[in-house]
Point group: D2
Chain length 417, copies 4
């Protein structure tokens, strides 16, 4: 089995390497290919050397000559690159603030510029994956759900799975609270990536939802802390994704972001530290846990294992609804529990979505699609249309200026007319 990582210069990579080491007792891994752009060569070399020290001779760790080499014959390709690096992310986070709008890597207008910048690169990479391999792509690149929508419904490439660490953390957290192992926990959980809702929790055969809902509290390093009040959970009868804070407590979160500074800046400093530690160390440093993507590696490695074993286990993944949530269209890419079998992922039929959830899912999905259209047609008009529709987007008054700011800051990546 050959696993290729695109964007391997990331400081996350060691955790991923660790995950693949873990599964290598159950499935035979032959090669792990660590690829990144020339601009990241220095970082990549550090990570590569560190990984080799970590892996020892469990499997081969390879730094390929070029992208084609990296992809040729791959069984699984992991996308974890960030177009424009952290500098671009900083723009995503800062520009919306000028208009009193949430600036966030994946959500609102920050996610919007990130998506527009990332689509062309994804398009190019998918073409190459398809040409040089039969691999299944596992995607971490943000905004992960939006990109899966783009790849599955617009490019039409089917062997693509959008992954996020939040569901894994959620199950982990429920497991810790209840003492049940994750395999005995089943959830009715659905939505768009970073816009999901936990509606039911089953512990084996028992419906433990009522008991658990108020104790579920997912803390993410990525976003400023701000508790959902207890009455909110009671009135929703669902636990909303942490990112819902931006929608439901917009004013408070805006204040926090302004006060705390962007996440990009913090990440830049953490990355620097980590790279130092990777240069000499030979085990995963504790500081990695502050990096924000905790359990990404677990999510990805276990998914690869279960795809390979076709063992019918359940993962929460971004893929086409295909009837699983019966009152949402079949072709919406959603984040939902899927059975992994026969090299495919089969969303499990969960019945209907709650009205509150489905209202938000619909409007943000329509925003996603208009944004994709804006990219495909290189159209400023469609970009404006998308921005105006987003619940965290600008008023008519500000939209054109905000768009110009975004285009200026991203002129190497986004071209609209």
């Amino acid at each position: 089995m050959k696993i290729t990582v695109i964007g391997a210069g990331s400081t996350y990579t060691p955790e991923l390497v660790k995950g693949i080491m873990d599964i290598s007792s159950e499935v035979k891994v032959d090669e792990l290919i660590l690829y990144d752009l020339e601009e990241s060569e220095e970082k990549l070399e550090t990570i590569y050397q560190f990984s080799k020290r970590l892996v020892k001779d469990l499997f081969k760790v390879v730094k390929p000559k070029n992208l084609i080499d990296a992809l040729q014959g791959a069984d699984y390709v992991i996308f974890q690159f960030r177009v424009g690096f952290l500098k671009a992310r900083e723009n995503d986070e800062k520009i919306p603030l000028r208009y009193n709008l949430i600036g966030q890597e994946t959500t609102g207008m920050g996610g919007f510029s990130c998506a527009l910048r990332t689509f062309p690169v994804i398009e190019k990479y998918i073409e190459l994956v398809d040409k040089y391999s039969k691999a299944t792509v596992i995607n971490f690149t943000n905004p992960s759900g939006h990109i899966t929508e783009f790849v599955m419904n617009y490019i039409g490439f089917e062997r693509f799975i959008g992954l996020c660490n939040i569901p894994v953390n959620l199950l982990h957290m429920i497991s810790q609270v209840t003492g049940y192992p994750p395999k005995d926990i089943f959830v009715k959980y659905y939505g768009l990536n970073h816009l999901t809702f936990l509606e039911k929790v089953y512990l084996k055969n028992e419906d433990a939802t009522e008991k658990l809902l108020e104790t579920v509290k997912l803390e993410l390093a990525n976003i400023p802390k701000e508790d959902f009040p207890g009455w909110l959970i009671e009135c929703l009868k669902m636990y909303p994704n942490s990112y819902l804070r931006y929608y439901l407590m917009e004013k408070k979160m805006l204040k926090k972001i302004k006060k705390e500074g962007t996440r990009a800046e913090k990440v830049i400093s953490i990355e620097k530290q980590l790279l130092e530690l990777y240069k000499t160390g030979d085990k995963i440093p504790d500081q990695l846990s502050q990096r924000g993507g905790s359990m990404y590696s677990t999510a990805a490695a276990y998914l690869i294992r279960d795809l390979h074993l076709s063992n019918g286990s359940v993962h929460i993944l971004n893929t086409r609804n295909n009837g699983a949530i019966s009152n949402l269209p079949d072709d919406y890419v959603l984040e939902i529990p899927c059975m992994v079998k026969a090299g495919k992922v089969f969303p499990t039929s969960l019945g209907i979505a709650d009205e509150f959830a489905s209202g938000l899912i619909h409007i943000v999905k329509m925003y996603e699609r208009i944004t994709i259209d804006a990219y495909l047609k290189k159209s400023k008009n469609l970009a404006l249309k998308a921005m105006l529709l987003h619940p965290l987007g600008p008023d008519v008054e500000d939209a054109p200026k905000l768009l110009e700011d975004i285009l200026n800051a991203n002129k190497d990546f986004i071209k609209l007319e």
Copy 2:
């Protein structure tokens, strides 16, 4: 034919009387019943006497002894009452402003309190209509679309048609601009009442959309003037309902409302003037046109005529989608062109809704449904859930306080626990 008006004490009524006079040359009208609550007896008496002078002996104008008398054997019942009168409307408009939210009779949090106040009365009246007549109800009572959703999908009463004067005015306006009579104009127009989109205009067989879109400009007396910028129409490729200003230019509109004062206050003063004129006059006074509901009468009277003649003409009405907009659920009550035939209204199949439009339609429809549930289950939690979902609703921080303010101001009408 017996036509009953519930809420006949309204100063609109004379225009409606005029409309029914107009159609009485084509369909035989026997009686027009003018009913209102005791509290409105004085206004009703004025309107009644004025109407009799207007109608002469074209048909009988009757002031019934009581509601049952009014409904017994009616063929058409017109709902045009306002629960809590203009005083309550003033609250609807003012309370949201305290939280920097749009205050408007039908839209946002003003429409929310108006709806909750109106549902129980509608429920009671529908029960009586069903018991004492086989009448079709034509509804003007606001929020008209929300109420039609409630009556058709929750009460399950089918002979109910939600009406609004905006589509009639729109066709009238297109007719004036183009010189084509309304019957030769056909529009792809759809959405929720006050949240509609004009996507196509046909003049006879010609698709005149591109030519016309930017010249369509609907001015409403009800809401503050504020132009949609030209680029907005270009980017939407649709003409949005005037009320969309609240969604798309929220900050500007909020400023305007605060500056101009509530519409309720203005209407109270216009009403006073009109009632003076009705006391002695014997023709429709010019001032009525400032009242805001221009062409309501035309819409209602012509609809009654065409229902009666079963002549297959097209009206834009609030009724169940029933497949007309193919990418919206069949059971959504929408405002769409319908063919009037066989005593029923048949929505015409218009293909798919635009993504921008459908995003907003979905989220506001979900808000509508949760609000109806809040009424039916008398649940504060569901009321909060509805408020949080509405694009013009409050943040988590303000929602509970806003709800309490609304409940306090409406304690005679709304009971939630």
Copy 3:
């Protein structure tokens, strides 16, 4: 306005010419183009001369030099050709009889061979219509609904309307029984062409279904007479299309067909007579009414008039469901009441189809689609699959032989591998 008839050598044409004369007082007709294949030149010349005598100088009747000439700049194109002429129809009717299966021009295995023979010609003609005109095609060529399915859903040509004379005759018959003019009659009528169900009859606003259902009796010259028993109508609570006799009384009808000989043979003899009469006459001969397609002309001419006037009148047409029957897929081509407006046809939302009707509609639609696939992929396997699915098709034992017989008899037209 230029109207082109493809297959104008048909003995029906004079009735059509008459129809167009009728509408020429309401819409200005400029030219009527009568086109047919060279093989039909003699017949065409007769029809052409007869038509000129009939029309006088109401409008120009033209015999074009070639097909391109015929189509260039046409506003309406009428397809009424029969591929392989009556000789081929005779095969369609006779071959299935060898296997004790219904042999009929449009239904069962006769309709199957007719469809396969006709698709390639339709495909070629549609290409030319699209290239040389902006015309709307009105199709009589059988099997009319199957061909509309092919053109709209597989070729993707939208300006195509499938027409049948049965609905017009049905309304005519109801009109005669009730004394109401057709425009005051509205029906819930739906299904596939020749597989339709009349579920509701409204006379103006009155639901007259119960009163009328048992008195509706449509006699067709095309098919052997055989009454539906009274109890059948009572148990269906619908009036089934006359062609349903083949499905519901298969054994009886088979006996009749065998006894009475094929319709093709009869038509050949009627045609001969009619052509004689056309040679010298100058008015429509009475014998035309035995020809079988009574009121085709009315259906077509009035449709052209109403399309042109965009007058919102209702015609029963074959077009995409588009939500009109809410429990059938949007993309099924159905025969349903449509409002004619803006140069388009808008199916009217009629609610759900009866379960009996929908069972038959689904299975025959699936047969239609597999048959179209068989043509497009030139696949014997798919042809067999279609035959086995059809309720009037063969058993596994007979299917391959029947297919070979059909292919042999049609080797100039159908090529499968």
Copy 4:
């Protein structure tokens, strides 16, 4: 855990007992309750004594005082009774033959009378199960899919799973051919019970469909042997359920049935033999394998185990589609692969059904629903309507007589007006 068997006097029961013994090492079984009607007391006593000898002290085997006793506190209830016993089945098989129609226990007109006879008993039992327990019902009673449709969609009882031994046998057979254990085999298999299609076979991650389709050959003791010809599989590109022979080779199968005599007669003789053996034996006799329901026990016992363990394993079950087959309505009860988790069964999203399959599924589902309506409304008219729609049903000429024959033979069970 308490497991109750309704219809335990069946000679199948010992195999079921064996199955429950097998799982008792993995889940703790407390009591097995063997219930049957008084009329079967003698058979039941034999089975009961035999079962006790078989089980030894693995768990308690109980013969309850009455039905309420049997159901009280049950965790799983197995329905395996036959209303009217084998005598009634004999009628089901013989009566249709008089009209040259397939007579078969579950398919065609035999299945029709069986269903009408069984609905009232099911209705009564479900009421009691619901009143006296929280049990999940596992149903073998025929026609199993039709009954599941009735229970889930008309009675509205949700904890009901329709089971059939065919899918288990199919997987077993594929396992034998390929050497893969059943857990590594995944199939795209769907349809109505006894009207299913095997469209894809995956061995772990490999799509082995093409390789396997022609080697799949399921022999059933229940129905006369008759091979599907090779070309049929090639043209369907699916392996049809053995019962499809009745639809696709109707004439041949009819001949066979007439020649071979009814299955009921054979079963009566086998049963006699088996009961003799049960009287004295203490292990499962070999003759049981001729009984026809081979692996029923495995199917049921393993399902109970996996429901109890909530282990996410996949079973092919009759339950509501719920989006799994995306081009079939959500509420159709289908036989499809389901993941067993959280005490529920989750159909796995398999994409679209083949057109051939879906044509047959639709028409037979509509037949099923009209039949249920006929029972609920006690309507002969609806019974006739159902019969006329079924692909193996009578012509109009024979339908009333056939219905009278069925009603006469079943007058103790079916009352229609």
